[in-house]
Each structure stands twice: as C-alpha cells, then as structure tokens.
C-alpha cells in the first residue's frame, strides 16, 4: 500500500501531538504532582507510538514505547517526577521532533538512532523503587517475542493464508516464489547493515513478501547469523544467487522454489492489501530500494509534502454561512412580487440558481470526507498487529464511502486505532484457543460505517472472547473503586462502563499493542468531545461490538416541512416512512396510549401540537388528520401534524450551547424567507 497519502495526516497529527506534549511537559515540570498532566503525556506518547507504528516509523515507535514504560512507572508511583527525569523526557521530545522534521523533509524518519535515550530510559526503570518489580515484568512482556520466531528458521517457513494467496497470484502472473536463506560469516560485525545490503540487492530483482525473523528484528540485530526471506521474482535464480554471493561476508545462500498451490487458502483478505505492502520494511530502506522489477506495484516513492492547505474549520463555517445566506437571498429574489418576469430576468435567475447550487456543493464537499481516508490505514495496521501477536485476523470493512464532516474525520482516527488494536489484542483469541473452541482459526474484525438519521455510526466488532464482566467486577473491587457488596449488584452494563474509566485495563499482560488501561477512556473522551456516544455490546465467547455514534454536523439533509398551528417544523426525510390521512375515529386507545391501525399493525401516535406545546388551535375539531409515520429502527410511530408544506433541502444549524438541552429538537434551519424552522428529534419524540 502506498502510505504516502497518509503521510500528510501523520505529519499534521504528529505536529499537534508534539505541541501538546511540549506544553504538558512544561506543566509537569512546574507541578510534578499533577496526575492529570502525567496522564495526558502518557496518552500523547501512546498515540504517537501507535501512529508511528502504523506508518512504519519504527524508531519513533520504539522511542515512544520506552517513554511509555517510564511514564507507566511514574503513574504507578514507582518512580518520582524529578527535574532530571523531566529533562530526559524533554530530550525524548526533541528526538521525536527531529524525526518528524526529517519526515517532513524527506518522507523518512532518518537513520538517527535513539539508542542512547532508550538506554537512559531503561536505566531509570532499573532504579525504580521495589514496588516496581511487577511493572518491570510487564515491560519485559512488551518486548517482541524473538526466540519463538528464531526457532522457525531451520524448518520451512510457515505461510499464512495471505502469503499463500500472494504466491498463487504471482504464479498466475508468471512469477516464481523462492525461499532464500542467507547465512552470514560468523565474523560479521555489522550484521544489520549487511542484511540491509542483501535486502536492497534482493529488491532489485524481486519483491520480498516475508522475512524470518521480521525485518524489525533484523534491523535491531536480533538474529544469529542467518535469516530467511520469501521473494517473488521473474528473474533467474542463478542471477540472484550470484548477486547475493558477491556481497561480502555472505557465507552461504540456500534457495528453494516454493510450489504453493493451495486453492482453499485463497481468501478475500488479499483484495484489501495491494502487494507492495507485504513486508514491514522500515521506510528508509524502502525508499532507498529500487522498484521491484516485476512487483505488481512499485515500492513507495520518495514523498514530499505539499499541495494541501490546512484551513481553520471556522473559516469554512463562515464560508458556508455566507453561501447559505446567498441561497436564501436568491430564493427571496425568485419570490419577489411586482417584477415583470421577462425572458432575461428568468434566465438571470436560473443562472444564479445554478451557480449558487454548485457553490454550495463545493463548499460542502470541502467539509465532507469519506471515512475511507481514515479506514485505509487500518488493514495494514491489523495485519502488522495480528502478526506481532501471532494471531490470524481478518478485517472486513464496509461503508467506506460514508461521508463525515471534516472536523469529525480528523478526530476519529485515534479512537478507532485504539478499538481495533484492542479487538486484536484482547478480543480475538490465540489460534490454539480458537481451535479448541471450535471457532475458525482466523478471527474476524468488522469495521462498518453507515449513516443513521442525523448520525454516522461506526461499528467495530470482533468474534473473539468478549468482555469478561466478572473479571471487571473483581478488578473494581481490587482497585477499591466499589465495595464488594456494591460490586455484586452491578449490572453488566454498569460494569462495562468501568472499562471507560481512566487507567483501567483487564488485560493480565501488558503488550506492545494495548492493555495498559489507556485506550477506552481516551476513546470515550474523544468521541464525547465530538458530540458522539460510544456503546458496547458484548457476549462471552461470541465477541464484542463497539458502536460509535457521531453527529453529522452541518450536514445538508432532505427534510419534510410540516405546519403545526402557526409554526413550521422540519422532519428529516430519511426517517419518514409514509404520510397518510386518518379520521379521529381511527384513533384507539390501548393502555392509555393512542394508537392507529396501519397495515395490520398497531402503531402509537404522538400529537405534536400537544407535545410541542404549540399555542392556539386543537386537533379535536378536525375531520381529517395528517399522520406522518416515522421509522425508528424497526418501530413505527405516527406524528399528527396540521399540514404538509413539502420537501426541501435544508442546512442544519446548531441551536447553540444555550439551547443544547432541548430534547425534542435536534437543530434548526433557515428557510427561504429568512425565518428559522426547528428540526424535530424523531427519536426523542417517538419515545
């Protein structure tokens, strides 16, 4: 996958996070006891780690990981915030800033290693108080499981479904897959540098789809003297062998043709990931490498930033307001009386109409972005994460073209990363466990976006083990959050709520992926600041599903305008099921609730005049009533209105903070005559 399109987002987000990190560090230096600041720094470090990891900027990711360990110890009071320590954190910040600067310049994080800083950080951890013993185990658990991968080297490499699929595809295109084991001279000093040259050489002829140990480990010199790669190539084996043998300090090259033809293994998964994405090659290596000769796609090009302008959303708001005003004035002009409708006049108005419509569309388009722009980084992430965990995870995405306001899009990346990582790490069980449970070995994570009325819903679901609510119950008692008796009475829903509290994690082990208790509270806070909500459904053994409901701010919607008394109201057209006429005799009462029969089912009715306390008039004297039947989920409800005005495209406008608590109204819109009409909250009214 070409990551360059996400580079821009990464850079902008990194800049913001670094800015906030800087401020938080300054605050922490002033008030070393400020827990909130510490939490904030931790979150920022965690977020940067995730982002850098996703983009393949491993040095950044490593450094932030080390920072996190120290910050974690600080949060657990195993270390004290001293001026020296803050100094070190500042140095880390500088290093991160340098990496970002490098990325902006060249598209790569550069070759500067932060080993010294990392050493200092781990030195701090060694000196921590006794109570820290447990935490240091946790940090160990965070290290990549190197030994296990090394065991595989001698035997034939195990291929996962995805790789098999790739090999099959390559074969269809006339490419061979070779398993190449390179043994380095035992006297070799700079093993990783040598390996780098070998990778580069291989990439001249072929495309590397797998490496054991992983490239990250090879880079860190975490391998003995040999490593194995699988490449796809059209080149002659002997040419490759000769080239490799010509590299100094290469002792032996063992090549083996892979004849994989496992049709059953061909899955849907591969469709989502273009082939250049196979190997997590650090960006700098990848950029240096020449494009693979026969690779289906050239390796990432060197990317520089530019071409986009980041505009303050407020300015777009102003622009949109002006355009809305223009449309209102145009409507007024059309309706003006006492003007002779000459041919020229009509033409001018029509032309004006076209321009304002295009202008409006253009401005709206600037603000609306398909969720795809955020979702696109996830397949790669899931792949990397699942591999790291030794699990098989399939990511299914749908509704990627669902559009959201730009303000919202920019913010949902982080929460979604947290949820997806959680699902991989805690949700999906290990392969062995899944086999035992009779589940398919490959876990499934579903990422779904769709519009639901005034909201966009994003679902993150997995078919894993679900949230163990009993474990949560135990944990909150252990933490002293709730007394044992009180905890026993908490419902499943209450217990799940605790997961969204700061510093709460049920994971037994801390891993690189998640499990420190950052995450869910960050997710919740973020979504709520966007005016949205998060809900969880979970079933033990069956999996969990998170529902993120986000408002479609400032969206244009199709609405049905209705008249009640002297007042005009708008009902979102997407929730209108049907409009029918009824007579007062049709209304029956069942358990004090007024209902009507509609298509053989009983539906409750709501007299909007009464609920909305519209002054004057009454429904009683009407012989025929207009019933707008709305749909909420599968449920139908009838709203009695006086008159239908018609259908119209309207711009939703917030009622503002002062009236934010008005339950039956979601927002307002400005009509052609300049007056305001309120948009009814169908969900609230139907209850």
């Amino acid at each position: 996958m070409d990551m360059s399109q996400y580079l821009e987002i990464f850079i902008e987000e990194s800049k913001e996070h670094l800015q906030s990190l800087n401020q938080s560090l300054l605050q922490l230096e002033k008030n070393p006891d400020d827990r909130a600041m510490l939490n904030e720094i931790f979150r920022v470090a965690h977020t940067i780690k995730g982002m850098a990891g996703t983009m393949g900027f491993n040095r950044m990711s490593k450094l932030t990981h080390d920072m996190e360990n120290v910050l974690h110890a600080l949060r657990n009071d195993e270390l004290e915030v001293t001026p020296e320590l803050v100094d070190i954190l500042f140095r880390c910040f500088d290093a991160l800033e340098n990496y970002t600067a490098n990325i902006i310049e060249t598209g790569s994080e550069g070759n500067t290693d932060s080993k010294e800083l990392s050493d200092v950080l781990s030195g701090l951890l060694r000196n921590k108080k006794k109570s820290g013993a447990k935490a240091s185990e946790q940090t160990k658990a965070g290290a990549p499981p190197a030994p296990e991968t090394e065991r595989e080297i001698a035997s034939d490499l195990e291929l996962d479904q995805y790789e098999t699929n790739l090999i099959n595809k390559a074969a269809d295109m006339g490419n061979d897959a070779w398993q190449i084991t390179v043994r380095l001279n035992k006297g070799c000093l700079l093993k990783s540098a040598r390996a780098f040259i070998i990778f580069k050489t291989l990439e001249r002829h072929s495309e590397i789809i797998k490496s054991v140990p992983p490239v990250q480990d090879i880079e860190d010199e975490k391998f003995d003297f040999e490593f194995t790669v699988i490449v796809l190539t059209r080149a002659d084996a002997e040419v490759i062998r000769k080239d490799l043998n010509s590299i100094a300090e290469v002792d032996d090259v063992i090549m083996k043709l892979i004849k994989e033809r496992n049709k059953a293994a061909v899955g849907v998964q591969a469709e989502e990931m273009p082939a250049a994405d196979q190997l997590q090659i650090p960006a700098d290596i990848r950029q240096a490498a020449a494009p693979g000769q026969d690779g289906p796609e050239p390796v990432t090009k060197k990317t520089k930033t530019g071409k986009t302008v980041r505009v303050d959303i407020d300015r777009l708001d102003v622009l949109l307001n002006l355009v809305s005003e223009l449309i209102i004035q145009k409507t007024r002009l059309e309706g003006l009386e006492g003007i002779e409708r000459t041919q020229q006049y009509v033409e001018a108005i029509e032309y004006l109409e076209r321009i304002t419509t295009s202008l409006h569309d253009a401005v709206m388009k600037v603000r609306m972005v398909p969720v795809e722009t955020v979702f696109n980084r996830f397949p790669r992430m899931i792949r990397d994460v699942s591999r790291e965990l030794g699990k098989e995870v399939e990511l299914e995405m749908s509704g990627v073209d669902t559009e959201l306001d730009r303000t919202v899009i920019d913010e949902i990346g982080d929460p979604l990363i947290h949820l997806l990582r959680n699902a991989c790490d805690h949700g999906i069980e290990s392969k062995e466990e899944r086999r035992k449970l009779g589940k398919p070995e490959s876990g499934k994570i579903e990422l779904k976006a769709y519009q639901d009325g005034n909201n966009v819903v994003i679902e993150v679901g997995d078919d894993g083990q679900g949230i163990d609510v009993e474990k949560v119950r135990k944990k909150i008692v252990e933490r002293g959050l709730v007394s044992k008796d009180a905890a026993a009475n908490l419902s499943k829903k209450d217990l799940i709520e605790y997961l969204f509290r700061p510093s709460f994690s049920t994971a037994e082990k801390v891993t690189d992926i998640s499990g420190r208790g950052v995450g869910l509270d960050v997710v919740k806070t973020k979504i709520e600041t966007l005016g949205g909500t998060v809900e969880v459904e979970t079933e033990t053994g069956r999996g969990s599903r998170f529902y993120i409901r986000l408002p479609l701010t400032l969206a244009i919607i199709q609405a049905l305008l209705v008249m009640i008394g002297e007042e005009k109201y708008a009902i979102q057209l997407s929730s209108v099921h049907k409009i029918i006429n009824i007579t007062p005799d049709d209304i029956k009462t069942v358990q004090k609730q007024e209902v009507v029969m509609y298509r053989n089912s009983v539906i409750p009715i709501v007299r909007l005049r009464e609920v909305l306390e519209v002054p004057g008039g009454s429904d009683a004297d009407q012989k025929v009533m207009t019933l707008v039947i709305v749909k909420k989920g599968e449920r139908l409800t009838g709203f009695i209105v006086d008159r239908i005005i018609g259908q119209q495209e309207i711009v939703q406008k917030s009622l503002g903070k002062y009236l934010a608590g008005t339950r039956v109204i979601t927002s307002a819109t400005i009509l052609g005559d300049g007056n305001v009409a309120l948009i009814l909250d169908v969900n609230a009214l139907a209850n």
Binding site: N321, Y658, V664, G674, V676
Partner: protein, 152 residues
C-alpha cells in the same frame, strides 16, 4: 478608546424596561437590531426564552428580560430592540423596550451590590450606576445567560 486612562471607567449601554434604566458593558455587545423579524418559538423552554432568530446565518436564542425579571410580557413596537451580547463565546439576544444612550461610569459613580436593597432584580445585579442623579441598574450578564436552575 480615549477613556481608558481613567481608572476603572467603563462604557455602558443604557436601555429601558418599563420605567427603569439598566446598563450593560458595551464591550459585551456585538450588535443591536430592530425587532423586525419573527422569533421562532422553541418548545420545552421557560417562558423568558422567546425563541431563536436568524442573525446573518447564525441561529441566536432570544430572551425576554421583562419575563426574566418578572415584569409583564413584551409588547413589540418601533422602539423595541434586541441587544445581541456575547458572553463566553455564547451569542444571545436580549429583548428590551428601548435603547437610550451610552454612559461612562467609574468608581465614583458606581455602587456595589452590597449597598443596594430594594425592588430591583437583585440576583442579576452587579451594581448601580448613578450619573447625574439617575439610577442605572448594572446587569451581570454571566448570570443572565446561565441556565435557570444554576442561577437560582
């Protein structure tokens, strides 16, 4: 502003409700408009919330100070004005009988709340200005725009 040299001198806009004069700090006012548009009623709101208006594309809530202060409901005429104030990023319109003038008040001509008793709406009061023998009730806008439950 030339007056800023005087210590604590502030400009206040004076407006009338019934027979009394009230003042609000002029730097909290974004604009004053005539009441020549319809106000859209918002359901489920206390009576003093008259509704919302469209001010250059922005939806602004409009409050009746008369009802808020327990006076009779507004009767709109050509003197009626809506003063649009901005407090804490919140734009709100206040309906008043009429707008008089801008006065300059300093410590000499202002008395703080503690010295005042009487029939004026005490809870929204910040002080009283007494230029040239007049009595101008100075309003605490923060308290006025606070939701009802919190203010009382």
């Amino acid at each position: 502003m030339a007056d800023q040299n005087t210590t604590d001198a502030r400009r206040y806009l004076v407006f009338r409700l019934e027979n009394d004069e009230y003042g609000i700090e002029i730097d909290k006012i974004s604009t004053i408009i005539e009441k020549d548009m319809d106000i859209t009623r918002v359901p489920k709101q206390p009576a003093f919330v008259k509704g919302v208006i469209n001010l250059r594309g922005e939806i602004i809530p409009v409050l009746s100070l008369r009802l808020k202060f327990g006076l009779d409901d507004d009767v709109y005429n050509e003197d009626t004005r809506i003063i649009i104030i901005k407090v804490d990023d919140l734009s709100i319109g206040l309906i008043v009988d009429s707008v008089a003038e801008v006065v300059l008040l300093d410590d000499e001509t202002t008395e703080s709340v503690s010295n005042i008793a009487g029939e004026r709406p005490l809870e929204y009061l910040k002080g009283v200005g007494k230029p040239d023998g007049r009595i101008i009730t100075l309003l605490d806008l923060e308290k006025i725009v606070m939701p009802e439950e919190a203010a009382t």
